[in-house]
Symmetry: D2
């Protein structure tokens, strides 16, 4: 048993980068624990295979490298988009929704490999530590969680680099200093925060953006696309059926090319402070608009309003890290129930940052031209009914007014 | 007493246009009632003075013509924007919010002039009849409300035109046929609906738009503006203090010129059917984004989330016509309480339909660089606290997981 | 076709009593329609078979007489009790929940018998007309609904009696005058309203109560019972498994004998006015308390709080008549999701109007003595965690306080 | 500076009992800090003056002993009762609501006396530590909070007693062993928890109850009382105007004598576990019922339903300790807005644990006999209106049904 507590084997969320390599080594030296690495392709861009060699070089025997993009979109992103989830009115939750998947795999791998702990590279000030650890505890109540950033004694970037060099971890030149901002990415979005972004009065420098061109750079001609939905999920793009991750990748391309999905936001973290983030969610932004559009003709008013009323709570739960929690699952049951007839097609115009709905149709449409027309509706709607409707809705207001008059 | 019931004097919301002129005459002939006209400048565009002569020509003695733009923005639009109100996730409620003001003045004028009824020109299928009448009853429980479109026997445009000509009401050539769509406008927005817009799969024709140029037509260069807030309301634009309506007019100009604020929507009416509307809310769209931005640094997280959780209900109330209802006033009290420190400046970039926040600052900012920085924070935040925070938040999840393991 | 509109065959909710017999005859004479009767045993007390002979005497050929008590409790009452539904904080919705079942059977019978209309005996001022008709329309959009009380010209009790006698409908002496109050009853409750109950300052006279003895009359010795739950529903009483209606009947007996379940309430009707009702829900009151008690040890905190937050809306939906509406079904999906582990036993003491929980236990209990004990908990809970938990929960409050100090 | 950190002067919430005396001494010896004591009469029963001598004996120079009962009821209890607040459906929040007042005074006294810290005697597993500390931080962001129970090394009751005896703190014989349960009390309630109450299947032993007789012991004759309200608060009892605390004390007497207000509950703590508490809230239980009754005739339906919809959240905030938080203040603003016309009288029958409403009346009543009567209402309500009301409410359901039929 090391001075830090008894850990035999720990599964580490390992990107292959410098920071998680340092963590890997630190777990070995400080905990004396055997380390299992898990590296996931969530669509963050870049190869994940190089992580294998790096892990091997540090003596890791159990190395898990997996492409989880389809699972990510199908089981996490799509269910969330059924809810039209927006945190604080605008944020599409790109980072939040990836954490439960990673943590779930850590726990599963811990079970497979007989590990008694998991470790992650999230810092002690952010939301990600919470999301990782709540998921871990929700799936295994006895798991030990190691959060090196909260535990170690390193006080500066220099300390970290020194440790790396002392342990023969390769430090490329651009990693020596601190990055001007930190990045998280997956198939749903890229986020950037910190350092050059810390003053919310200062516009983000252009080099922060990684995944989209700016509206100004986007083409002068609109692109038109059509998305088909079934049970609330997109299933085809421009007439072509696609798997979830394939479809999402294609949406991302459309979004990137048309300058869509940038967001500069000051948000409220679960741990209590405000932070400023810059997000790029090209495909997600398109999907969000399209999903609302297909719902607009297929979802009943009260179903829609009920969904809207608990959407902020649902988004908050995901942002805070409570994906694997009964309250999220209860809300999901309600949302999924509402999506049974959310199907049909939405046509969109993409143009320099704009996502413009230009049409929606559905075999399950609740839109009735007969009901709404100014022309003769052949009895579908009796305007006389409106008088009674209004008078009974007004009854309580008239009673209040009568009281007020009494003084 | 006429065959329709006993009405002595009726105050009519009179635009001066053909339809309300027909209504005016119809009230005279069918009810035998004395008619008082009320014509308001809500910023719909066009002169309102011509309504005077038209009314006089039809024998009206009590004619009220008023510029209510400042009241409209100050007492109706601004309070609503404090709530970030969006109906069904996207609609800025431009028509809904104007109705209570008009109906309120109708009731006030009825009192002044000793009238026992009010009348409006809204149809029997729409929301506006409800909004007018709920307000009327809420302010005077004994008022009689006449809704000619629900009552008269006219069955077609031709019937109306015949009636007009029979009564020497001038019918200009373009008013003979039915309009290709109907329009409502005020300082907050223009809405268009009906006829050419009835198929939600068909893109609105360009001539529907009245108040904005398209993103494509907008300048290739962004415009930067700065809005200053106090207690949640905008008080200055680009460093210049302005009255509410003046400021809003200036925002509308910025929005129009940059192709901002168009919305093509299928929405759910209070009377039960879906309808398709095209909205243009140039200044309102800018203000909505700016208000969320200033809140993002000045509003506490839980205050913001509480507001968000009630926003859909608040927006629904306004859409349905319950402005003068205790539940709206209760929510307003809550919202206004939250806005006490919502002050500071927001810088925005307007570009071809985009409203992009590029900065926010405030003397009341809750954003703390010290708390959030990756650098040394001199003890503002102890990362060790996060461990306890997470572990207690996880306690119930671990208990659940332990139960699940028992089977 | 009669003067009232074209109706060929109408299914009537027929109690066999005087009022619905008059309606039956009126449908025959005024609409010239063939009438099908539906008489249900919902546990209201009294025989339903006599309705057959009465209907036959009026020439009815298609007579449906059914015992629906098990369906009522299993498919309507139990799902509602899973939600702990209380309208306006106190009312257990005994009348509201029965209407959708009756209306559903009317529509089913209309389909079976080829009827094009349904009719009910609810008045034009109450909630029941809404509940009947919303259900009817929700299950058959083209059905015609006849509500005689809103349509006919009878202006007084005398008119009704005259009509009855003219048509050889037997009028017993006690039915000649108006009843001192009106009653609705089923296995869940009895309600009384009207006339002698109309002044809310006057205590209901003792003869209003039908189904319970008063607390004063109840035995001086408590009765102890034990209810066992599975998936949120009671399945056994005092160790004996029972069908839903059997169990409920037994609970009603316990409640009645111990003076349990009386409620004197001024409530808000959906149609806009306040009314005063006296309710007796003996078994339901016991079940409500017991269900909360079993949830208290088996339901997670956030699941419970989420349920509670939607409960008023859920109760409102049922009270208003929206049982067969997507928003109710969505909420039900959420509620049912929460009940998967709500099982175990609750022990109660019944005493003179009181329902006192004296114990609850469950194989799925989330109550952990180790976590909560003042004694040594062997590491289940680290009190040090609380410090971090509190400090991060306080962070935003401290930031607010710091701002306030700045003035 | 002591080994525990630098604290110069600390204000201690001091009851005068053994435990807080030990804490007092421990603060002196371990922190080397000057201690200021604050002892409040919240209506817990027993004298508070003896605390003075005890404090003096331990060398305390600044001793604050205050009767805060009126402030407690007026500024904390009454505002909470305006909301009909119940935690988890049943708990009247008696302990929760007292903590913010005590903590507020600690902070105020710290300011007066120049203290840099406050200390309390709540344990590390409960809610009270959170409530104390959130309030403290909300009112002074820089205050140091000392929670001895979380910090010290004592591992058992014996350790505590040893420390006491070592420091000449008098230990009466009955305090040597551990109490069979722990108690908190104030004018609103008594709570008991721990030890003999830890098994939720076992009924609480009779000696746990301190403030009420049992329903069985209560008189065989009912007691009738009348409470008068103004702006949602009780102002008179049985025709006699009283100050808040006086009135509450009288209500407590009535409740105690009639066996009213006992509650045996398993609840969910904010720190994550379930716990079992036994509560006695005699006067509060009466007031809760009476307040709902006066609201039932004076509060508009939608105002009432809106209140009900956020009540669980409001109660949760108080239970968790967020009294001095903007979200609670926002909700309070909404609640208080609703109470403007909540006035009138409620008559209640108290009988062996039952609180039975027997009448309510108000000059501001919204109950209209004309609207509701089965008799002729002289046109107050047109039953024909109900048809239109229902048909428009059904329109969306019919549209859904038509879709369903299409399959």
């Amino acid at each position: 048993m090391s001075k830090r507590g008894s850990v035999k084997k720990v599964v580490l969320a390992y990107s292959g980068g410098l920071d998680t390599s340092i963590i890997l080594k630190w777990l070995q030296t400080e905990y004396g624990a055997e380390v299992v690495t898990f590296t996931a392709d969530l669509g963050q861009g870049g190869e994940i295979e190089p992580a294998r060699e790096k892990a091997q070089r540090m003596g890791i025997k159990e190395i898990f490298i997996e492409d989880v993009r389809e699972e990510f979109i199908r089981d996490f992103v799509f269910p969330m988009f059924r809810a039209n989830a927006l945190y604080e009115g605008v944020y599409l939750l790109g980072t939040s929704i990836a954490r439960p998947l990673i943590a779930k795999r850590l726990i599963e791998i811990a079970k497979e490999t007989g590990a008694d702990a998991v470790a992650h590279g999230a810092t002690g000030k952010g939301n990600d530590q919470v999301r990782f650890e709540l998921t871990a505890y929700a799936l295994n109540p006895d798991i030990k969680v190691i959060a090196p950033w909260r535990e170690w004694e390193f006080k500066s970037r220099t300390d970290l680099i020194d440790f790396a060099e002392k342990h023969q971890i390769q430090v490329t030149k651009d990693k020596r200093g601190e990055a001007p901002f930190s990045v998280d990415a997956n198939l749903l979005h890229s986020s950037s925060e910190g350092k050059v972004l810390e003053d919310p009065w200062v516009e983000p420098p252009p080099y922060v953006y990684q995944r989209t061109i700016s509206p100004e750079e986007a083409p002068d001609k609109p692109t038109e696309i059509e998305i088909e939905f079934k049970k609330g999920d997109p299933i085809a793009l421009n007439g072509k059926a696609m798997s979830p991750a394939t479809l999402f990748t294609a949406l991302n391309d459309f979004g990137r090319d048309n300058g869509i999905g940038r967001l500069d936001l000051v948000e409220n973290r679960f741990v209590g402070m405000k932070s400023r983030g810059v997000y790029e969610t090209p495909g997600g932004t398109i999907l969000h608009v399209a999903h609302r559009a297909i719902e607009s003709i297929t979802l009943d008013r009260e179903a829609a309003h009920l969904k809207d009323s608990f959407m902020p709570r649902y988004a908050e739960l995901i942002y805070y890290g409570f994906w694997f929690a009964p309250e999220r699952e209860m809300l999901q049951a309600m949302i999924d129930k509402s999506q049974e007839n959310v199907e049909g097609a939405v046509r969109l115009k993409l143009y320099k940052g704009n996502v413009i709905v230009t049409g929606r149709k559905s075999p399950k449409s609740l839109y009735s031209n007969e009901l709404v027309t100014f022309e003769d509706d052949r009895g579908a709607y009796d305007q006389k009914d409106a008088a009674g409707f209004i008078r009974l809705n007004a009854l309580r207001l008239r009673t209040l007014a009568a009281r007020k008059r009494l003084g």
